[in-house]
């Protein structure tokens, strides 16, 4: 199943459906995410990479891993566009994750500005992956603006609270034809598994790993959870008995023609 079931984003194929965020990073975190969680995409905060010699996150990224630079620090579309162009100049490739926050307390994305930035950057040839608050209208606007995936948040970033927006993410999965990647708020492997069972194309985590007691073990747990959830989704979830047993006689058995 692994070989045929590829994650395809903007024409690029990936085997892994676990993406590592980069808000809180260390060398061990990145190593664990690649080695034990199987991450093939790692986001990179352009502002964090804006460093000279010491501990540049760029130096930590193993070869063969796809960089997903993000525009964290942008407060509007214009700033996000500027940061994305800078990422391209730094040699980070064409992928860009749009993050626009006008709020330093909850770090919630600004959907309206995100649509604007997506439109501009898609026209410039970027493969735009916008981080957004799960809203169907915005998601449709993002599709029209040229996004290659949509990345709804599960709960406030860093909160480890899981799928607080579950019903709305499900609507995006059902209605949007792009890969839906659940981003922010996933705190446990079981939550990542649940998102994958729902039909999410991938999940992205950072804090859940960064704050774990044993990084490599937690990384492996996430890999297994994501794979299990994906398999469950592909196999079709079993019948869930809501109440009591199912009747032995069918309700519509009296119909004759």
């Amino acid at each position: 199943m692994q070989n045929s079931d590829k994650l395809v984003i903007g024409g690029h194929e990936f085997n892994s459906r676990f993406i590592l965020g980069s808000g809180k990073y260390s060398l061990t975190l990145i190593e664990s995410a690649v080695k034990y969680a199987g991450a093939e995409i790692i986001t990179l905060s352009v502002r964090r990479a804006n460093t000279k010699e010491h501990e540049n996150i760029l130096d930590f990224i193993p070869k063969g891993v796809t960089l997903l630079p993000n525009t964290s620090g942008a407060r509007n579309a214009q700033e996000a566009v500027r940061i994305a162009r800078l990422a391209r100049e730094l040699g980070c490739g064409d992928f860009v994750k749009i993050e626009i926050m006008r709020d330093t307390k909850y770090l919630l994305p600004d959907n309206a500005e995100t649509v604007k930035a997506t439109e501009i950057l898609a026209k410039e040839g970027f493969l735009v992956m916008p981080y957004m608050y799960p809203d169907l209208n915005t998601a449709r606007d993002l599709v029209n603006a040229g996004a290659v995936s949509v990345m709804p948040l599960a709960s406030p970033i860093g909160s480890n609270k899981g799928l607080a927006t579950k019903d709305f993410i499900q609507i995006l999965i059902d209605e949007i034809d792009l890969p839906i990647i659940v981003d922010a708020g996933i705190g446990r492997p079981s939550q990542a598994c649940e998102a994958m069972e729902m039909g999410a194309a991938a999940v992205m985590c950072n804090t859940a790993l960064a704050t774990a007691g044993d990084l490599p073990v937690m990384a492996e747990a996430f890999r297994q959870a994501v794979e299990a959830g994906r398999k469950a989704y592909l196999s079709g979830l079993g019948r869930v008995l809501m109440r009591g047993g199912s009747p032995s006689d069918t309700l519509t058995g009296f119909l004759h023609d």
Partner: protein, 417 residues
């Protein structure tokens, strides 16, 4: 208990001494500290009123261990919870507070710790703030660096590996005007990724200019939020005007700065009330300007040249730790800076609980980075220090020590856009 601030240094003229004593002993000789001086912009804001009302109503003696435990159980910390955590009833629960603070810090900042250094470019000052080494009556070596000297200092600092700099001056518009500071910001942009300012409060248009020169963060310490006490400590100069200083952060944000920092100088007045006021100042301003990055500092009084006895009185390390844990629990997203006023042991411990930023390679003097960093240079061409520092670790030592504590040192997480 009170520090003895009134020291007559050698070298003051008779008329200066007379004026100094007059300011110290005769309150009627001092200007109205609540009245704006000429040229000071007045903005429309209700934040000061909101903060001061809360602080004047704060009776920390009414809180009990039950209130503290309830506060620690809540998912989000209300203002009322914060008041309980800051109260004397919180002191026995310091370990529990530290555990919760650590959890919040890790959620929002992971295991990162930011390292920066301050650069004092001038120590001329027109204020008479009785606890400060730079005060206009203190007999110290005064100096203002030329642009060439500033650049040289910056080169020395940048060579050590530092990427974030905080530019400081004494408070003298005459000796260090806004253009001079702006030029320093432009130079700093050449050598550093991130430039902050800790200078005298200025008007919105001036903050805008300094932002265009490359600065994006402004730190202003209110020192104490008790305006009556403030009046007895800031006897002359622009700093005497309490509301103009209070509104500095708001003007900075209006001028386009990305972030602002707040603090009381602990040991000047009732520290619980001052800590409450500091956090509420940040809290209300962030509600009004949700995009603003907010940061808190926590300086305690230190000895100065010609007055080695100044100390933080009843604010011991345990009290400081309680304040910082309460800050973290109340404002989990805010940066917390712990400066070289505190000891190596304290800083190594507090970064594991709630602090997110530490200074290193610090000098609070003028033009002495080369001699301090390399042992070379001419100490006679240096200006004296604002206060005695406690932790003199170099950048590299701090970097290694923070890594050794299991933390990830971060030198920059910022882009000027």
């Amino acid at each position: 208990m009170e520090n003895n601030y009134f020291i007559d240094p050698d070298g003051l003229s008779e008329s200066a001494l007379k004026k100094k004593h007059e300011l110290e002993n005769n309150p009627a000789s001092r200007t109205n500290h609540m009245e704006y001086m000429d040229g000071m912009e007045q903005i429309k804001s209700d934040i000061m009123q909101k903060v001061l009302e809360q602080v004047s109503d704060y009776d920390y003696s009414i809180y009990t261990s039950k209130d503290v435990l309830r506060a620690l159980q809540h998912d989000t910390c209300s203002v009322e919870d914060f008041k309980a955590l800051l109260s004397p009833a919180g002191q026995p629960f310091l370990e529990k507070m530290a555990e919760k603070a650590r959890l919040e810090t890790r959620k929002h900042f992971g295991n990162t710790v930011y390292i920066f250094t301050p650069l004092y470019i001038a120590n001329y000052c027109e204020n008479y703030c009785v606890y400060c080494g730079f005060n206009r009556y203190n007999h110290i070596r005064r100096m203002k660096l030329s642009p060439e000297q500033i650049e040289h200092e910056m080169q020395v600092i940048a060579k050590s590996g530092m990427e974030e700099i905080l530019i400081l001056t004494g408070e003298s518009r005459a000796k260090s005007d806004v253009e001079y500071i702006g030029e320093a910001c432009k130079l700093a942009r050449k050598y550093f990724r991130m430039v902050g300012l800790e200078i005298y409060p200025v008007n919105t248009e001036e903050y805008k200019y300094l932002h265009e020169c490359g600065a994006d963060y402004v730190t202003v310490f209110q020192e104490t939020y008790n305006s009556d006490k403030y009046e007895t400590l800031h006897l002359a100069g622009h700093k005497r005007v309490f509301p103009y200083r209070f509104e500095a952060q708001e003007r900075a944000l209006m001028g386009g700065m990305r972030g602002v920092a707040f603090s009381a100088l602990l040991g000047l007045s009732d520290f619980r009330k001052d800590a409450l006021a500091t956090a509420l100042h940040a809290f209300y301003l962030q509600r009004k300007y949700p995009h603003a990055e907010i940061s808190l500092s926590c300086p305690r009084l230190r000895p100065i040249i010609n007055n080695g006895n100044i100390n933080p009185l009843d604010v011991g390390e345990k009290q400081l730790c309680q304040i910082l844990c309460a800050y973290r629990i109340f404002l989990p997203f805010a940066g917390i800076t712990v400066s070289s006023r505190e000891s190596e042991d304290f800083r190594n411990g507090i970064v594991k609980i709630c602090a997110t930023k530490v200074s290193a390679g610090v000098s609070t003097g003028i033009g002495d980075h080369e001699s301090k960093y390399t042992g070379k240079g001419n100490s006679s061409a240096e200006g004296d220090e604002q206060f005695e520092i406690n932790d003199s670790r170099s950048f590299q030592k701090m970097y290694d020590d923070m890594s050794g504590e299991g933390l990830q040192p971060v030198l920059n997480d910022y882009l000027y856009v």
